[in-house]
Symmetry: C2
Subunit: 405 residues, 2 copies
């Protein structure tokens, strides 16, 4: 029998009524003849509430203890969903990450999955039961409870789909799929029926919030087809699959944007080998997630290095850069949190070199200044002023005719 893994996010199980709606859909999927493994996130804002409680209790929050705390939310939603299924006559059984044998390394708060045994899930499936697995969590090689970091429940779902050889991994959320741009900014944005793993990776990396980067990487590496869809309308959403080389690629698939980053500029950096390495090693040691890096050609023996970081990492990035600047003979360190990034993503960009020219022209015509540029083989990103980014998204969506129809 075909097996599908269904993952439900926090908004999909935010209250008792939503939990029952999810149970209905799981039961429906079973009636249609598929075996189902369910992965569930914590209800609604549970994780935020737990973080607030931790802050009220102590400023010292050992990562091991934070993991024990934060993983409790899925310990609530999983048995509740199993009960809702039981109420519909579906024999369901909940499992913690540990019971599902999701074995991770010992990196608390952002653990990596080492192995998924899932023997108990296989046994439950063989008995005709629906396993409901607490997402976001695993058990470390030291037998401690670990969490998988941001988007962790997606990662759980994809890892289980890979381990169990599922036909597909369905990610249910509060939007109906992946769009050609954020529909709140571009009302005529189109839902994409199908994107490749590569495109999805660049969409996720450049501000598309629907799927976390890591779960997409995991799915690509294990060839697990993803289906992103809504738990409110239940209509088909966006498939994320292997790129099909026989198909003609759209030049540009989506316009994404990201307002969560800030820019740091270090001026007067000596143009000598190893200087940049020291700066970015120091940032990496403090776990700062550096995104775009731009360094201009040196003119007078020194250069300026700019990079973007999540706004939440801005303070620590400035600390690191300012501490290091005198040591490496650099000048000033400046921060700018008024920036945003707009990106074009599309597998067809590989063979269409004119995309960047069009993008720059569109922005120039609207007098939107480009502060930084970065590219990958299927993505083109420009850092602009934050207060112009929505306009940039609309203009680019129009210029590349992404609304279809």
């Amino acid at each position: 029998m075909a097996l599908v893994v269904q993952k439900y996010g926090g908004t999909s199980v935010s209250d008792a009524e939503r939990v029952r709606a999810v149970a209905d859909h799981v039961a429906r999927t079973r009636r249609q003849g598929a075996d189902v493994v369910v992965v569930v996130s914590a209800m609604g804002k549970t994780t935020d509430d737990l973080l607030r409680l931790a802050s009220d209790v102590s400023t010292v929050q050992p990562p091991r203890e934070l993991d024990m705390l934060l993983t409790s939310g899925e310990r609530v939603s999983a048995p509740l969903l199993a009960m809702a299924l039981a109420g519909l006559g579906v024999d369901a059984v909940s499992f913690t990450g540990s019971q599902a044998q999701i074995i991770t390394d010992t990196t608390h708060l952002n653990a990596k999955i080492v192995e998924v045994k899932a023997d108990r899930l296989r046994a439950a499936l063989a008995e005709g039961r629906v396993p409901v697995v607490a997402g976001f969590q695993g058990v470390s090689l030291d037998r401690d409870v670990t969490s998988l970091g941001r988007g962790g429940s997606d990662t759980t779902a994809v890892a289980l789909a890979a381990a169990l050889g599922a036909e597909a991994c369905e990610i249910y959320t509060d939007v109906s799929g992946v769009f050609s741009a954020d529909p709140r900014i571009v009302p005529e944005a189109r839902r994409l029926a199908r994107v490749s793993f590569e495109e999805m990776l660049d969409i996720a990396a450049s501000g598309g919030r629907v799927l976390a980067l890591r779960s997409v990487e995991f799915a690509r590496n294990h060839g697990v087809p993803l289906h992103v869809r809504s738990s409110f309308t239940w209509e088909p959403g966006t498939w994320v699959v292997e790129e099909d080389p026989s198909m003609e690629q759209a030049v540009v698939t989506a316009v994404t944007h990201d307002i969560s980053e800030a820019k740091v500029t270090v001026t007067g950096v000596p143009d000598k080998p190893g200087i940049a390495a020291r700066l970015f090693r120091a940032l990496a040691d403090r776990a700062v997630n550096v995104d775009t890096i731009v360094q201009n050609t040196s003119l007078h023996g020194t250069t300026d290095i700019s990079f973007t970081v999540p706004k939440t990492d801005l303070e620590v990035s400035l600390d690191v850069a300012r501490a290091l600047a005198p040591e490496i003979g650099a000048g000033e360190v400046m921060a700018d949190d008024g920036i945003a990034k707009v990106s074009l993503v599309g597998a067809g960009m590989r063979s269409h070199p004119g995309v960047s020219a069009t993008m720059f022209e569109v922005l120039a015509t609207a007098a939107i200044n480009i502060e930084m540029i970065s590219t990958s083989s299927i993505r083109l990103s420009c850092v602009v002023r934050a207060d112009r980014v929505e306009e940039a998204v609309r203009l680019l969506h129009q210029a590349f005719e992404l609304s279809g129809g």
Copy 2:
């Protein structure tokens, strides 16, 4: 170094401030030179909230899933307390029941402890750390999460104290010990400095709410001294210890009362061997906890049997009795939920036969009718009308001069 197990109930960790206060006390105990293992309940009314959520989701609540759900509360309080301790510079580490290797049978909602390995707790203690164990929970021989039923966190604490050879098990709660009567009813009630396990068992069985019966039995069987005390005043409370035969016993130690039971009467029961057995076997099969049973001498070949059960079990008890009555040739089955039980408890009652006479005289003088009487070697209980029970408690407390001083 001396080891003490400290158990904190839900009211002791009801919010962030209370959690920090508990951490202060644990740190203080460590500074005084003792090793500490902490057992913690869920915060405040968490368990009630989870039960309500379960009812909102489904009327079908498989016990295994209910256990997974209900044990999540201690998965929150334990790491929070560990963080609060870390904030005070005390190296603490939280453990689930499973991680603490509290192995139980597979009876969900009321599991019995089969074995306590506690290797990880010993290792943590050896490293100078404070283990904070989630109470109320264990892991079954089938590797499922189980809960230990009412007062389960007390049972966890006593079981760990026994397994680790602790000097004492301190039960912190919102009252300052065990009293000679409920202080809300008898303001001059005295806190008892010391009671025997036997007395405590009868106090718990007859309505004293401070300790659950099962944890006292466990403590008696393993010789673990209990110290019941307040987490609000931190003053010394009541010690529950082995009876010391060399000491003179007070005749009566405490007056207790219980308004949580109802009475069932089955009339016209044939006076033949095995009839009562069939009735109470049928009740036991439905997990009804029968307390007092009274059967009068048969006069005309039939007798009336009355028994008390928790009010929450009244419906099912009536179902059982009414279904069985025709089969065993009995008459009517009647329910009465307007009763209450008042009891005298004291180890000295064994050698003072006049206690029952005094009790009946005190009640008779106040025209309080006695509906049922039951006795143990150190307890004497009368079932009376519920609306007279507080008066009965006050009169008996006075008659036996329990306020001391």
